[in-house]
Amino acid sequence: MSEPARHIVLVPLDGSQPAAGQLAIGEAVARLYEAEVHVLHVSAAAMTPAEVCDRVGLPEPRPAPERVRHRAGDAARAIVDEARALGAAAIAMSSHGETGDPSAVAGHVTLAVLAATPCPVVVTRAFLDAGRQAQRIRDVRCILVPLDGTKEAARACEEAVALAARQGAQVRMLHVIPRTGGRGRAGGFPRFADHAAYELEAWREEFARISLAGVAAREDVRSDVALRVGDPADEIVSFAESEDCDLVVVAWGGRMTPHRAVIVRKLLTAAPCPLMFLLADARPGAGTA
């Protein structure tokens, strides 16, 4: 019924990326949630806040000591546990960290956090300009939500609409119809396609209504449904580029096993803008990715 207070954005730093840039991204995310940034560093040895700042290379002025946290142990587990303990509104982190393999879609810590997070995770690709990414988040005007008609996708939509309402942004919902059939799950093309060609407008409206069914009426949020035909992962990235989207919000099942999470992989390797991941119910077949 009522959501817990969300007033902290957790920014894990391991020193691999210029900390100022990561902190700026974290502060931009914090603005989205009207929250404050807490820095987290994970290492085997205990550290004071000042030592953490030194270790990750935070420039002056540094965050207040009470906003600099340290945990020992496995990095991903520590981040997730800290976020849960703080009731964090979001986590903001880079796609690749200190030990991340640049040839992989994301570092193993990032992937592990995405698979277990209790809150939205904003991921910025490590190979994009951090300042530009921070600016996109800070001045977010266009939020893209790939939809497939599932409950999980609608959750992503709900999060996007809430963000858009706070920031005065527009929500673009994108549904991609696969060009080639396959025997797998095709997703949410509604079943009333008796004459799909000229019923597309009606379908678009219906799809938007279904996707926004759980969202309290927000007449102040502009939203639309775009359709594309083709490979879903390619089309989402292409749409984000061509429509100059500032943020892509995706709900996913949390499993990066072979042949799964194709869209998540593609976004992590090719998205032109920051990404927000929500962990959907991890039951088989669920998720948008």
Binding site: I177, P190, R191, A193, H195, Y198, L200, E201, A216, L227
Partner: protein, 744 residues
Amino acid sequence: MDGHELRDLLGDIDALDRMPAQPGFDAMRERGVETVFAVANGVLGVRGALDEGGAASHPLLIVAGVFVPTASEAQQTLLAVADPAIVEIQIDGTRLDMRSVETADQRRVLDLDRALARRAWRFTDAHGRAWSLKSVRVASIAGARPYLHALSLRLDRGVAADVAVRVAVGSGERDVHGEVARWREVRTYEGASLAIARSAVAPGWAATDNGFTCRLDEGAELRIETMTTVHSPANRRADDAGVGLDGALAAHLALATERRRTTRISAEGRPDVEAAVELAVYHLLAASAPLGGATSIGARDLSGEGYHGHIFWDTDVFAVPALTFLDPASARSCLEYRHRTLPEARLRARAHGYRGALFAWESTDTGADRTPAAATLPDGSRIEIETGELEHHIVADVAYAVMRYWEATGDDEFMREHGAEIVFECARFWASRVSPAGGDRLAIRDVIGPDEFHPRVSNNAFTNAMAAYSLRAAAEAAAWLAASDAPAATAVPAVDPPADEVDAWRRTAAMVVRASFLDDEVVEQFDGFFGLTPVDVAAYREAGVPIDIALGPHAVAKLRVIKQADVIMAAALLPDAWSERAVRANFGYYAPLTSHVSSLSAPVYAQVAAWLRDEVSLEHALRRVIDTDFGNGHLGAGAGIHVATCGGLWQVVVFGLAGFRYSASGVAFDPYLPGGMHRLSFALRWRGRILRVSIVAGALDITIEGGPARVRVNGVEREVADAEPARFAWDPRHTRWSGMEASP
């Protein structure tokens, strides 16, 4: 519980445990649930939305027959207005909706016996108080067909609460006295008005600008009752204000209970089939009324806005053939609507260079065609929509519906006054539509068949077969009319075709190519179909991907894939034009090529599969039919019930499984019970009689009320006396074609 006061229906709904029910609440599926739990009466339809509204709700009252302009390509759409019975409720200043409270249980039920919808919701508010909200919706089928709604909100447990109710009275007058507050209001729209009478009973109520407030102690309840009467061209009756809400309910219950007695179907052993066909019958009846042709049934009936309420061939070929046996007066009204739109159909034929009548592919109020001219594809490209210009089989479909209705009902008055004129004008169209094909053969070129993936084809099997049927039917009707002792049907000369014209219809019918299928071979769907490029249709079909959207209409037009039953549609409608071997061969060829993108497709395949005793194909097709609106979480029903699927499902069960056939002289059955179904029972109306049929393995029992009839089962025919049960033996190996030469 059994009283005739609306408040009596606000009691416990657990007793309705055998009725279609929707427990819980799922915002994603709410739109489909609202559709399935809608109430309607042919004059108005009301979606089964939550009484208190909410983000997921789409509460509408849809007015039959009133079309208003739209800026979209569709040009006109059915009038849909806010459901007047939806109220905004605040408890201690917090708006009541599904998201603001903790639901203990929630259940919506369709009471099919009484044609009404009920809801019970128990919840706990933020202060820990336990509440119950109950409601009942009725679209009365009596009198002025008002919409009746009652709601009660009760504080079951907890400290007293202040409740504010906004009833949106608009500019109506308000009459407040004693314990009861009353409001009256008239809302006027383009082409229709709503007369709304509302009353509320609440302890200690006080009027506000837009409703009232009250204070509910533990155990206290407030109750709101609303009666809404639509005044429209389809419903010119004065409202039932004088009758009162309870009187209107009593009148409805009397008719609904009687109607139920002759329309229910049971399929013991197959609850999936029974539940779906019962819902299908409910919605077919809800969509229709004997309105003297003032309007007809839209493709998505009165439960949603899909297809803008436009009237397609869905009505004539899928809904009317079922309604003919469920509610003949409503079936007749649909055909009278076609008669009423003849002037536009004649103009349309002339405009296209033909004679007779060319009915609109998408019809609304006047019968002018409202098919959108173009559409925008996902890639932004524009394509021309050609169905309005080229899908001419609608002409034969209307003639088919008229003839089948007449044969089933013996309604000679209708035939003289309306039907014959329709059928003759259809024949005149086809006589002018054919063109030489060499020798003594005639072709029908440049059409779109039911398979709309392939526009501008020649000699589409379905179109040609139906055109030939239409011509022969007109000749038959002309012969009947000539032999009839009755005076000239109407003042319209079109009803009295000269003998040479009738002869020409017969000759033309015999000359149309690809119109008879007795040669046991696979029929080419249209000229050149066999030469199209093969494609893996199953991959798209099983993935649920509409192949025309995925590949684009121009690419699909070159592929050997069909949108829906086409050749097999001809077999379903005109089985006597086929041999069993030919049907089997064509079914085997075309079923794998069918994408089933259209909801009209699966019912046809299911019916023919039943005739062929092809259980695997039957079950596959049945699953698709059921899932269209009534399975799969009702996800397909958001924009309204697919009325053709409802009619199609009834036809699958009665025409397909029971193998029911009919003529002026009698009825026949060649039953087949699919796996798990151990008894199929149904009632239907035929020629003023009520037939009650019960089929179990090897035996068919029939009782006829209203007169004797000749009944044949598996070719064995005998007279069944009025009200005397009769039993026939049957064997599933005997198909409808086994005794073809002796068809009744």
